[in-house]
Amino acid sequence: MRDAVLKTDLHGSFSGGAEQQVDMEQLRKSLKKEQRQIRIRKFTKNKASVFGLIVVCLMIVLAVGAPLICRYDPLELDTVNRLKGCSAEHWFGTDTMGRDVFARVLYGARISLTVGFSVGISAGVLGMIMGLYASTNKIADNILMRICDGLKAIPSTLLAITMMTVLKADIKNVIISLIVVNVPSMARIARSQAIVVKEQTYMEAMRGLGASRSRMLWKHMAPNILSPVIVQVTFVFASSIITEAALSFLGAGVPAPAPSWGNILNEGKGVIYSAWWMVLFPGIFTVLTVLGLNLLGDGVRDFLDPMSS
């Protein structure tokens, strides 16, 4: 008997057996739903991510609702009451021109979030387009990746400052500069992911079936490289807020009188000994928002990647 048994793998022969006919469509749907529930549960279980989400939502609410919340116009000058400390009248004090810091910080959230969001999304989309095409076309790949390498070799702050000096200082150009700074790494991520996806068997199969190139790219590859790109987008969102603040701090960001956090910090830096509130409050808002976004990014990563624990 013993000799009659051949070496083989038991694994294979134990599987399967589900013979009954199931409505495949329904099964797929319920599976998807279940998966989504698992992901949401996973996300909500991570308290840090939930905290991040709450902070970010709160910032958005504050930014959108700024006109309703603030009693002062963030641009309204009142030089008589300059550099007044925190009071019932001015919760966060007033700045060097007597403007209400609370209003400026809240309106500043609009600018920071706009910059961060626009940069994140645009860099994500551009990076994805570049990454996808680079992964399929060797010449495009060489050119695009050389340019990306070149741009990446220049430290981002320095590149952004230089670009801001070239372009007229306004919020649109801050966004453009930051996109240019962030696209290379985004494209890199998208490209490496796209290459992995491209080599997978189902892509071979699609090619075999004669799918057109753009259909392959957008219908089949794009969704598969989306997760790492989305995760990266949240981090770019966060880092753009910091870079914008740093640019304004160096005097190369969104120009006065716009109440960007970086501008308030920059003005506050000069009077930090006498008007700590001008540094503290925008500082806290910046740190909180960035923190929230980073936490959210971690949560999104877990949410999108079912493999991660």
């Binding site: 050389r146 070799a153 220049i154 230089t162 910091i242 740093a246 000994y273």
Partner: protein
């Protein structure tokens, strides 16, 4: 390995070409020019125009570009508009503070981050781990200029432990030198420390859950050795990568910290040079940093080889 290195070296060339074109165009597209900056704010238009012609700024851009590139190959990086020094010597004189600051920052960061990151990985879920997580999040969310301001207020003005600003050269004593760059180094290193901590923890976690660690345990190796020898050497590859990236980060981040603490480094030189439209200096710094960046990446690859035989031998 030799072929690999050669390939790496060749791949540097297009990168540098891109960098040179990008920075040259950017710099020359910037409104305003060095001539006006050199003559001061009360200078007249004719004086400025005359100086422009003298400096060759009225020639076509392409010509200026090639003149610059060719001169660079001859070792001539041009003349700085500030006090007419050769660019090379200006850059070299600003190099030391930045290198010193960046290395010091990274040293502090590495000394804190790597052991803590390892400890956090080993004691996952404990207080240390949570502390490390919080720290690394704070690190990536706290811009260096804010941290710098707070450090300055606390340690220099209130406690008077460190000088507020300024830079003491190493030649005037190592102690004084370190004292003058400690606060900026902390401000600069904080974010890097956070990144390193995060990466060390993650890669240690991965290594610790690997089979060879289980095998080492089954062999009866002490926990201490497992962590310090078996796991660390494997995690080192990641750590080296982060360290390399941090050097580049530190160089880039130095601009803000340097101008805050009045440290005459490359970052400050760059910011100042943009202000005075010191074309050649801006171009030289960017090229230098790009070359450095590329070299660091190459060095990381070679270090990989030293640490990881899989890379070395293949």
């Amino acid at each position: 390995m030799k072929k690999f290195i050669l390939k790496r070296v060749l791949s540097v060339i297009p990168v540098l070409i891109v960098v040179s074109v990008v920075i040259f165009l950017l710099v020359h597209l910037v409104p305003g020019d060095p001539a006006a900056a050199m003559l001061g704010d009360m200078a007249s238009a004719e004086d400025i125009a005359a100086l422009r012609a003298k400096m060759g700024l009225d020639r076509p851009l392409i010509e200026q570009y090639f003149v610059w590139i060719i001169n660079m190959f001859r070792g001539d990086f041009g003349t700085s508009v500030a006090n007419g020094e050769p660019v090379l010597s200006v850059v070299v004189s600003h190099l030391m503070p930045t290198v010193s600051l960046a290395l010091y920052a990274l040293l502090i960061a590495a000394l804190i981050a790597i052991p803590l990151g390892m400890a956090a990985a080993q004691k996952k879920g404990t207080a240390i781990d949570h502390a490390v997580t919080v720290f690394s999040l704070a690190g990536v969310s706290l811009p260096s200029f804010l941290l710098g301001l707070f450090l300055m207020l606390l340690f220099s003005v209130r406690l008077r432990l460190f000088p507020v600003s300024g830079y003491t050269e190493m030649s005037e004593g190592l102690g004084q030198h370190l004292r003058s760059i400690t606060l900026p180094a902390i401000a600069l290193g904080f974010m890097n420390a956070a990144l390193m901590m995060r990466m060390t923890r993650a890669s240690m976690l991965e290594v610790l859950s690997s089979d060879y660690i289980k095998m080492a345990r089954a062999k009866g190796v002490k926990e201490k050795w497992i962590l310090g020898k078996h796991a660390f050497k494997n995690a080192l590859v990641t750590v080296i990568t982060v360290f390399g990236q941090s050097i580049v980060h530190a160089l880039a981040g130095a601009a803000v910290v340097e101008s805050l603490f009045a440290i005459p480094g490359l970052g400050q030189l760059m910011v100042n040079s943009i202000g005075r439209r010191d074309y050649y200096v801006i171009q030289a710094i960017v090229m230098l940093i790009a070359v450095f960046n590329v070299l660091i990446n190459m060095l990381i690859d070679i270090l990989y080889g030293v640490v990881d035989p899989r890379v070395r031998i293949r």
